[in-house]
Symmetry: D2
Subunit: 353 residues, 4 copies
């Protein structure tokens, strides 16, 4: 089940320390101009500034496209792409071969399949998200041709949050190390991350995403609501723990008379509290949602690992780990949103005779 989407379908593959990761994007409409510079720039968005990581793989994620494009345009056939794992061989994983790290997927993969590739987390590694960003860049190009844009940014990193009701310019998110487009908050977040780094600790955060330019009518009731598929897309991202659309969990405490959106005569609403979706179908107003990420479980502190020998082994795990996944995950959230919406755009073409 490594395929995402119904009409526009991404099939991903690859392990963290195998030869390559990659994907096949099938169903992208023909005739789309594929700007490789743009795609490579999107790939770089997943590589945050130095403030966010303890150390990092040095490789640049060079996308290598094998099929589906002719003379710069999509042909309607599958677009396969490969991203080599350049410096994967150097990593030493022998120590972890028979031990399960806390809060990782080591033991669950082992239980499910009876064996696993232990190198760097194998298929469960967040390295896999580079594939999502690559495919998402293609989806974004398609959406851009219809003036649909998607922008995400960091709203919270650990104990530091963007102050409530702060207006920010989401367009500038990638100019900030933390992807929080607010100078003071970005600085505070960086300082917090620096402190955690020194403590060999990590943290989580919250990303807010919004999409503009959506036509009315996207989303397939009842089990494939726009909200349902967005939630699925987000929770499929490594470390994602929560999703809320519009007012989300806050809506639970509101009254109907507060939460009901007040119509304007032009068909828009005063406050768009519904987040751009009614009955699982896009309203044409701004779509917005928030998604929560847990702390990266790979920390440099000494912890107990569970051995296949059913004993605990105290170990300080080495390796290159980010302090917080949020700055990198911003690009992934955008990519998965783009894939989801593009799929619905295509499906919506079949709604009427």
């Amino acid at each position: 089940m490594n395929t995402f989407g119904r009409v526009l379908r991404l099939t991903g593959f690859g392990e963290s320390h195998g030869e390559a990761i990659g994907g096949v994007l099938d169903g992208l409409p023909a005739g789309l101009e594929v700007d490789m510079e743009y795609i490579q720039a999107e790939m770089r968005k997943r590589r945050p500034g130095d403030g966010c990581a303890q150390s990092r793989r040095k490789e640049e994620d060079r996308l290598h496209i094998l099929s589906g494009i002719y003379r710069g345009k999509s042909t309607g056939t599958p677009i396969a792409f490969v991203i080599p794992n350049q410096d994967a061989r150097s990593w030493d994983y022998a120590e972890l071969e028979d031990k399960f790290r806390p809060s990782h997927a080591d033991d669950t993969y082992q239980s499910k399949y009876g064996l696993r590739d232990p190198r760097g987390g194998g298929r469960a590694s967040a390295r896999e998200t580079a594939v999502r960003v690559a495919a998402g860049a293609l989806a974004k190009l398609f959406l851009a041709s219809m003036d649909i844009s998607i922008k995400a940014y960091a709203e919270q990193i650990g104990e530091i949050s963007l102050p409530a009701n702060t207006e920010v310019d989401a367009d500038t998110a990638y100019a900030y190390v933390t992807r929080c487009p607010h100078k003071e908050t970005d600085a505070a977040m960086q300082a917090f991350l620096e402190k955690l780094r020194r403590q060999n600790d990590s943290t989580g955060g919250v990303i807010r995403c919004q999409a503009e330019g959506l036509p009315k009518g996207l989303g397939e009731p009842v089990y494939d609501k726009l909200t349902s598929r967005l939630a699925s897309a987000m929770l499929s991202i490594n470390a994602c723990r929560g999703f809320e659309i519009g007012q989300g969990f806050a809506a639970a405490g509101m009254k109907g008379s507060e939460h009901n959106d007040v119509w304007l005569e032009n068909g828009h609403t005063q406050k768009n509290l519904c987040g751009g979706v009614r009955g699982g179908i896009s309203t044409g107003e701004t779509l917005y949602f928030r998604t929560a990420f847990k702390p990266i479980p790979s920390i440099g502190q000494e912890q107990n690992l569970l051995g296949e020998d059913h004993r605990l082994h105290s170990l300080q795990i080495k390796g290159r780990h980010d302090v917080c996944c949020v700055p990198r995950a911003v690009a992934v959230v955008e990519a998965m949103t783009a894939l989801t919406i593009a799929d619905f755009v295509l499906l919506a073409r079949t709604n009427r005779i």
Copy 2:
């Protein structure tokens, strides 16, 4: 896209005021004893006590099974069932035929399809959830044969929440009008709902669900993680606005050293902060998650409706509406969880040679 699931697939149909709603459950393994009493009892769980609604359809949801069962056992062929809409004809909807209620799906259906069945919200009505409960009851019977149980309860209704860290007996939830298995909180919630009823207002709430007895290894990485599909299942429910697994949004503010689950030698963890899922795959520990519901948009107060004539029309909408969907939605959350898990149980049989 009215089909849910991969191997165990529910296809639902029906409008609120059409002739009937119903579904086809395909892929339920053969040989399961189908206890019709149990299923009808599950259907009743979706019918809360009188404290929760302003007025209510009087019909009992009698499930009528048309196929797939022979001599009390599932045969492996599709199980079709129909639930007649008994007192649907009495409702007067003429006034709403050319007007869109606030925060309903009236206008989005109209935009998507160019026409709609306006009677009681048509396909967008929460009446559709009775189908989920019926199919979920079959899934629960299958899961029960493997000692997997699913229990949900109301944790918050509007401004009233179960006090933090209150231990409750989830088994008793349906003994409480609000489905909150805590005497004082249930009473406070009822009082709050009564107040809202008098104000012709409504509210939302939060449901917590947990599943026990899951084997390790359920969930299909990477796009069909157990979390991903659960989120999709929940957000497909009418009025659902949010989902969080384990520590959810709270995890965003934690440190890795706090959030990482500490191994016990028996392979369990001290606190199961991950909520029973690691890397999208079940750990064998208790699965738990929370899901948020917005206030029911149908309120008895005078509101502006948007006309197809692009004008606002002030109207007090009549009809039978609950004050809060949460007490009824508890059974729906359980049903969708059961369908999701049962599907994964079947898929997991294909993981190894």
Copy 3:
């Protein structure tokens, strides 16, 4: 896997002697005028004249639509329909409960599921094809709105075949008892069937189907070619044993210089030997194919049945059986073709930006 199609999806259900058979057609575009007279007339096409059957169920297949249509138009939501099994209770099946008839699906269902509904073949009964015809009628209405028409007729019944290169008017097929629109051949086929009836025997036949008005570009390479899905649709019909497109098996003996279609300047070809499909994609010329049906295995002669006791039991099976399925299957072939093409018409809307 009782669902057929990708965007336009039919989910069927029901056993021969259960309470009802039926289906849910999901994905039919909104706004289609649904002429119930037309649909009921299509249903009658599956009921051949008296020359073809030994005896027959007396019930008229009344289609009962439960959802998805409002004021005579499709709404885009699932169209559920039920066809009651009116005189099903009268049939005596006790004798067959623990015995497997030759060349039926009795033993394979038993092996697969561990139990089965033995009444009239259960789910394996050709009665199930009424569901296909009902859904196919809806698909035909959709195709008719684009001037796409589908016509099938009997080309061979047992030892009687339409003479080679006979021009027939496919439009008139249903005016003939055997569905072979050629007076002399129809008469010979009827005589042959009458002879078989007296012998308590049965036979098979061949149906030719053609579709006109298809746009260029239907079919999804490479695994979902138009030919691939048509073949799948045909071989899913009870008793179907073969499929060939264009010159089919005869093409195997031809030379490329003979088989290659000669272009005309208008973009058509001289002879359309390819049958309207090149590279799995429709050419815009007439689509035509042939499909073979085996003799109905239910014959009135004394035969050995295999008992669950692993012994042979000589028995003369009673019941109402056709002498040849072909006259009834003509409508089923048309229906499955319509569902297949309609699905591709919708998918083709997503091919280009």
Copy 4:
């Protein structure tokens, strides 16, 4: 729709003269020993002896596996593989850029997508079948672990057919240039192909395939019968024009009393005329079917091409073309059969509680 299968899913990609072709096989159970020598040997089966082609690409199809295998065993994660197009650049296709060859997919791709990769047929090239053979080899390894074997051979090439009722040893097919395991027929076929080569002509043929060791119970009624999916698999192969199971088209002329299989007390049948499938479900007896291939449309004779300028252009097309696809297609037929059966083997695990 470049994905084949439900649980075991092959997603293919690549154009004839692009950088590479390849695929992703998802859902192969974990723990399978992957013998790379075996797979490479399977790939060579698709490369016939020199008697069958006019000239041929020199490249050896080296399979390069990127993921999903660890220490020689499948891990349950997607197995991605790439086959580079080594000598693709040398081909001159400028002449065909704006012209459509007869009986090729040039114009249909152009109509469907608005543009196409004209080099060597692009995605419509039979080169794509190498991907099927690679994935099929993995499926065969899985099936071999259950003692299921699949063997195909050429039964007819153009005007030369294996004499009726000739017993052959299917195991030896690949020892013959034409893949017809009968010395005299193979010689006659070779002579016929040599004659066609000198005439710059081509021909078609028929392949027979049989599978042994299948358990009872494979196949998912009613739309996903084993026969339905096999037909779909075969007709998805380039140049395939027909499929018949068991007695196929010959069954159309038989009587029920002839065609009905006579039970033996051991549960087998005297003649297995049904071809190993009853009611779309495997019987446990030998599965056998035949599939027809049309002549390769690429012939060296002068022909009229249709220009995008709507004129006819007489041209002698150059390039490397086989005289008959059948000798190479034998391996492809086996591969698609293996993928189909392996998928059903996995699905069948979900049939019972």
